[in-house]
């Protein structure tokens, strides 16, 4: 399952950090963050609960970039 989320982040490097943080989150198979379109595309693992996983993704992104936001 793939989903796309709108994000807010200030710098290109921070977007890269978010991508790496999201990729390491449990339940996420793959992730790409586009700084330019401010979109985060997440591919979830089979059977993962998207809402729960996204909460975790948001938490780990906040950790690497406190000013970022993911609109769930």
């Amino acid at each position: 399952m793939k989903k796309s989320y709108k994000i807010d982040v200030d710098c290109a490097n921070c977007a890269n950090l978010m991508e790496q943080a999201a990729k390491k989150t449990e339940g996420v198979k793959d992730c790409t963050v586009s700084f330019m379109t401010l979109k985060m595309k997440i591919e979830f693992e089979e059977g993962a609960n998207a809402a729960a996983v996204m909460e975790k993704v948001r938490a780990s992104c906040k950790k690497v970039e406190p000013d970022c936001e993911i609109f769930l």
Binding site: A12, N13, S34, M36, T37, K39, K41, P66, D67
Partner: protein, 636 residues
């Protein structure tokens, strides 16, 4: 400017108002005797005002184990400068850094908006008629085969076929072509176009996700995530660079003074050991300010993004910045013939040796062939252009492999190839034109022939010429057509080479052979219309699908999609990619070059904090401005 940017601007202005008089005092230009601690306290006001968020992020970064980022660099450098008594420099560095951040944010926001104009094709709702009332529903919920209503001024939400009404459509957002398109009953209509004049009822043929607008948006959004080599290089570079610079600065702060103290060499200029340390720590801080990688980290993706956006605004969709990179190195272009160089519609191109008016001959031929469904009869009818009265035609006899004989207005008319003519005992005159030759005989006398050929696209010649000027060394046409046709088209258009009589599988082999001969960083592009050539499109270094609007297979297989079928866009795409790559290279060389020079100057103690900030913010602003040039592709 958005709220965030306005707030930052306000903070910068306030801090600047505070800083200027304080700085004059600090320099001794304005005489005011203040104790050092009071001056420090006063300097901290603008410092914290303008830099509190940087300090906070640096602190949070350290706490979360993300130590080395530009916030950390700026914090260490400015705190270090202030601790060494360089209050003015410390605050000014923070202030200028924020000016740079603000500028960057505005520049990125602007290019984002420019590109959003292209993405303005997302339909928000669809109208469905329920009990005579129009109801707005989410286009996602409309089932395939339902009838939707598109009012003038609205975006077409889903692909479909018009069942009622007629109108003009503005497809500029899809094709970059500003001429409106007429539609009427039975016309296919694509989502993302804007209905301009009349009310339309449309039977949807695709769901929301498969509709053109969604597919294009998906493509554009994903484009930014296919990163080019330069982009990956920069993000990898940033990951190693910042820690290395931090350790470098640490070494610069500690090792030289230790060396001086131990050996006693180089101590002369310094009054005390404290002054020695102070000098080197300040040099290290300057070093840190210069080293900030923002100019590269922001400008490289921005250049690519602007390049993709600029191309998009011209109806050229490039699926990722990696393809932009490949496209810039294209030296060989292979073309499919039909639909790419030629229109793919067989049309009458000439009428020769007719004893009566050309139109009269066409009329006879069209009438004689009017019962046939063969493409040739369609071309004849199209060339004649007026409705045919089938009552004028009797005794139609089709002679398979030869042609048709019929009685038209009482005259016997024979229409067919040279075999038919010799069968009738007539001598047909050969034609120097290339194409399908249709001979006509009326009342037993030879009356000339009609040439039917696939028409060249108006722009085909110019397209090849422009490719040549764009530095493409070889243009090859691959076609299943006969040798004579291929040769003729290749000569007319000015191609360097052609391969005729190829089966679809041969085309792949041909492309492979061309690929093998490329080598040396030269790339091969294949241009097709997306029908039947998906394997070739994916085999070439870069596959370009033309006129692919609405053709799913082509959008899937190609790396570059030309929304309309103008072949001149191929050269344009290459020029856009070249410009974009040139700007990327300029930025890399410029930013790294200036930084390296300044780093050396800082380590030698020649560059002060002011130069450091100028190098950092100045380079970034110039790099961003340069990157935005990628958007200006209209006149390329």
């Amino acid at each position: 400017m958005n709220q965030k940017q306005k707030k930052l601007l306000f903070r910068i202005l306030m801090a600047a108002v505070f800083l200027v008089p304080l700085y004059l005092v600090d320099l001794g230009i304005v005489k005011l005797s203040l104790p050092r601690w009071a001056l420090l306290a006063l300097f901290l006001v603008p410092y914290l005002l303008v830099g509190y968020d940087i300090l906070r992020k640096a602190f949070l970064g350290i706490r979360n184990g993300q130590v080395f980022d530009e916030n950390f660099l700026m914090t260490v450098a400015t705190v270090g400068a202030i601790a060494l008594g360089e209050y003015g420099e410390g605050v000014a560095v923070m202030l200028l850094y924020q000016v740079g951040e603000l500028f960057q944010s505005i520049a990125v926001g602007r290019s984002r908006r420019n590109i959003a104009a292209l993405m303005d094709i997302r339909p928000d709702y669809a109208n469905i008629e329920e009990d005579g009332q129009l109801v707005r529903v989410d286009p996602d919920e409309v089932e395939v085969g339902s009838v939707i209503v598109v009012q003038p001024g609205e975006k077409v939400p889903l692909d479909g076929v018009v069942v009622e009404g007629s109108s003009n459509l503005d497809t500029a957002a899809l094709t970059g072509e500003s001429r409106p398109v007429d539609v009427g009953v039975d016309s296919p209509i694509l989502s993302g176009s804007v209905n301009m004049t009349g009310l339309l009822k449309v039977r949807t043929t695709k769901g929301f996700d498969e509709s053109t607008a969604s597919r294009i948006l998906d493509l554009v959004e994903n484009a930014a995530s296919r990163k080019s080599k330069s982009e990956s290089f920069i993000s990898k570079f940033a990951r190693y660079y910042t820690p290395i610079v931090c350790y470098g600065a640490l070494a610069l702060a500690v090792l030289p003074p230790l060396f001086c103290m131990v050996t006693g060499i180089g101590m002369e200029p310094y009054a005390s050991v404290g002054a020695l340390w102070g000098d080197w720590v300040l040099r290290a801080c300057t070093f840190l300010v210069i080293s900030c990688p923002c100019a590269l980290v922001i400008s490289i993706p921005l250049s690519f993004f602007a390049g993709l956006g600029g191309a998009g605004s011209q109806g050229i969709l490039i699926k990722g910045s990696n393809y932009l990179e490949t496209l810039s190195r294209v030296k060989v272009v292979a073309f499919d013939k039909t639909g790419t160089i030629t229109k793919g519609n067989f049309a009458v191109t000439a009428v020769h040796h007719s004893p009566f008016d050309d139109r009269k001959l066409l009329e006879y031929a069209a009438l004689a062939e009017c019962h046939s469904s063969h493409p040739i009869s369609k071309s004849l009818q199209a060339a004649y252009g007026e409705p045919l009265d089938q009552g004028r035609v009797t005794d139609v006899e089709e002679l398979s492999g030869h042609g048709v004989t019929a009685r038209v207005d009482g005259h016997t008319v024979a229409v067919g190839n040279d075999k038919l003519m010799s069968r009738l005992g007539l001598e047909s005159r050969p034609c120097h034109h290339v194409g399908t030759i249709i001979h006509v005989a009326v009342d037993g006398a030879y009356c000339g022939h009609i040439v039917i050929a696939d028409e060249l696209k108006e722009n085909a010649r110019r397209a090849v010429e422009e490719l040549r000027r764009a530095g493409v060394e070889k243009t090859v046409m691959l076609t299943g057509d006969a040798e004579s046709v291929a040769k003729n088209v290749a000569q007319q258009v000015g191609l360097t080479d052609y391969r005729a009589q190829l089966l679809p599988a041969d085309k792949v082999a041909c492309v492979e052979e061309l690929l093998a001969r490329c080598g040396g960083g030269k790339k091969l592009a294949f241009v097709g219309d997306g029908i039947n050539d998906a394997p070739v499109l994916s085999r070439a270094d870069i596959g370009i699908a033309m006129g692919a609007l609405g053709s799913d297979a082509a959008i899937e297989a190609a790396d570059v999609v030309l929304m309309d079928d103008d072949p001149v866009k191929i050269a344009k795409a290459i020029r856009i990619s070249r410009k974009c790559l040139r700007i990327v290279k300029e930025n890399i060389v410029f930013a790294l070059g200036v930084k390296l020079v300044c780093l050396v100057l800082a380590a030698l103690g020649i560059a002060n904090m002011w130069l450091a900030v100028a190098a950092d913010v100045g380079v970034m602003i110039l790099a961003v401005l340069n990157a935005i040039r990628c958007l200006a592709v209209k006149d390329l």
